[in-house]
Symmetry: none
Subunit: 197 residues, 4 copies
Amino acid sequence: MTAKRQARFKSLRDSSKERIEHAALELFAKKGYGSTSISQIARAAGISKGLMYNYYKSKEALLEAIVQKSFEWGKEMFTAGVAQTEKPEDLLRYVVEASVAAVLEKPVFWKLMTSLAFQEEVLKAMAPEIEKLRKHNVALGNEIFTALGYTNPVEQALLFAASIDGMFFHYILSDGSYPLEGVKNLLIDKFCHPYKE
Amino acid sequence: MTAKRQARFKSLRDSSKERIEHAALELFAKKGYGSTSISQIARAAGISKGLMYNYYKSKEALLEAIVQKSFEWGKEMFTAGVAQTEKPEDLLRYVVEASVAAVLEKPVFWKLMTSLAFQEEVLKAMAPEIEKLRKHNVALGNEIFTALGYTNPVEQALLFAASIDGMFFHYILSDGSYPLEGVKNLLIDKFCHPYKE
Amino acid sequence: MTAKRQARFKSLRDSSKERIEHAALELFAKKGYGSTSISQIARAAGISKGLMYNYYKSKEALLEAIVQKSFEWGKEMFTAGVAQTEKPEDLLRYVVEASVAAVLEKPVFWKLMTSLAFQEEVLKAMAPEIEKLRKHNVALGNEIFTALGYTNPVEQALLFAASIDGMFFHYILSDGSYPLEGVKNLLIDKFCHPYKE
Amino acid sequence: MTAKRQARFKSLRDSSKERIEHAALELFAKKGYGSTSISQIARAAGISKGLMYNYYKSKEALLEAIVQKSFEWGKEMFTAGVAQTEKPEDLLRYVVEASVAAVLEKPVFWKLMTSLAFQEEVLKAMAPEIEKLRKHNVALGNEIFTALGYTNPVEQALLFAASIDGMFFHYILSDGSYPLEGVKNLLIDKFCHPYKE
DNA sequence: AATGAATGAGGCTTCATTCAT
DNA sequence: GATGAATGAAGCCTCATTCAT
């Protein structure tokens, strides 16, 4: 059964569709959506230029599919843990750890998502979903920092989110030399043990 | 007579250049460098397509000029205050306040600079200068947090920088609803008054 | 199956390439390389503007391909006869006859090659090959006229070459009324039967 | 008086108009008419781009003026001698010597004229005059070679003209190493002293 | 006479997309 | 599924030309 499943998995991984998405993700993240051509993607994926249009209506549809998948994947990485965790300190810690784990596993996703945030024109189709996720996160942050006894949970949540994103931002652009572990621990500390004036 | 004529030409040039740079900055920041066309810039600047090439060798040269200017401007906003400030708490506070002031004054600059960080291909010409600035900032951060008596100045400096950038990141993408003031104050607090376990 | 498909593609390619090269040759020769636009070539070849770039990297690459082919073709027309001919009179005669045959068969080639000689900027890529051929011809001329017993073989060879090229020059520019046959015979006579003072 | 005339001459030589024509001639000859831009001419002439249009209606009008002048100049160099010379041998010799003198004095003129011969589109305006000159030359050649007692004066004249043009052709393209003097003498010999079988 | 800013058509080239096979 | 030839719109850039001064 496992062999079968692996076979299916492998055929999925090696299918043309997967190779297209993989190549596109890499290139979009590296050079930007607008500066990546279908030819380049096809060459990187080892397929013909026309084949992409068997799977996606257009270049933008391809991008959307990739972003959608990365969203699903991101959600999966969180839901499990968030549901199981009760204590706010643990939840906060979990959010950080899970984010870090996600970024470490697929930094390219994160890079692409961030770079897309700067392209107003692109991805208007997904804007609602993104907005929804953002609101959800703000609410979650609020909850956590209220539970932690802060008097300014909104600001705490916003700075918390900013610190995480900023940390990833620097990590992604740093060519491997960033001490992510150390910064992450400091971040957890800073928000878990407030000095409570 | 010639002087008069030259003055006239200069003012013509300056006005056109300004309009071109202004339009380009807005569009590059809004839609990304690669997705902004010369036609669009010309239309937004109210000039003909060809005129840009009287002032800049190429689209990329235009970008470089803009980035260069924004750099100069950014440096100016900092140098004065940094030199005058002595106490580390004040310096840290100054860095935050000056950054916030800069971002509030010209958010588009910041947006452009950040979005360019995600376009490896573009702007290789300026990479050295950027790297230099980055190193300078890391060193400054180290200095400040050492002076503040932290045992882990490197992580503090990195998280500090990450928090600032992340805050701006969220602010820039937030369409005006971001409580920058509150988050800024919290940020200063968090790094100025360490809980010193 | 794949072989069949590939054969079909190849014939498609070949047909398009041929039409492009044919049209380009005609136009380059008629109006000059610099004054011929890709649009004109595409129109004359009955293809779209973009298609040329499936086959040639640039306008200049197209020119180079054409020149290269004409070179190969020219060489072929000579090598056979030169190798077989022994007596210097016959060789000289052969050179003239073969040149005339070549020019009569593809006058456009000759016109293009000559016009390119006046465009220093263009075709620097092929300069070495051209120089090589020139030197070869000078040496051959020297040989022939030495064998013919002339005391001034260098000048004879140079004037011989000049006469041939000049004759073609006038022929090409003459709109069909040039008595090439008569001039050719006179040329052979003049250089074969020296008056030997 | 001489001083005055020289001053006038100098001012003519240095006038903007002269400088424009000079620069244009050089550039047209070197890079071809189609590949020379008004900007380049203005830069080479040390004047502003617009000034050319004070003197010439268009780029093509400038070319025409240059060609016209070179024509006048060429005619002047011939008429005097042709009228004075009686004996056909001397006339033939004179034609060669005068041509060589002309080419040696202003090789650029010759280069330009020749290169223009390959641009059908350009200079249609001057075509009639060129044709007239050509016919005149053919007639003159005919006369000379008839007078010299040749039975085939037409072919002699055509080959004679071809040899001259071919010689110049090679000379112009040879970067200074061409033994023009020797070839010229041989040419005169070849056509003056026929072997008369 | 002279300048150079400004224009817009047109040149070369790239690219998303289509389609016959 | 898959190919790659073919298209044409659009991109960047150059250039002859105009015009206010």
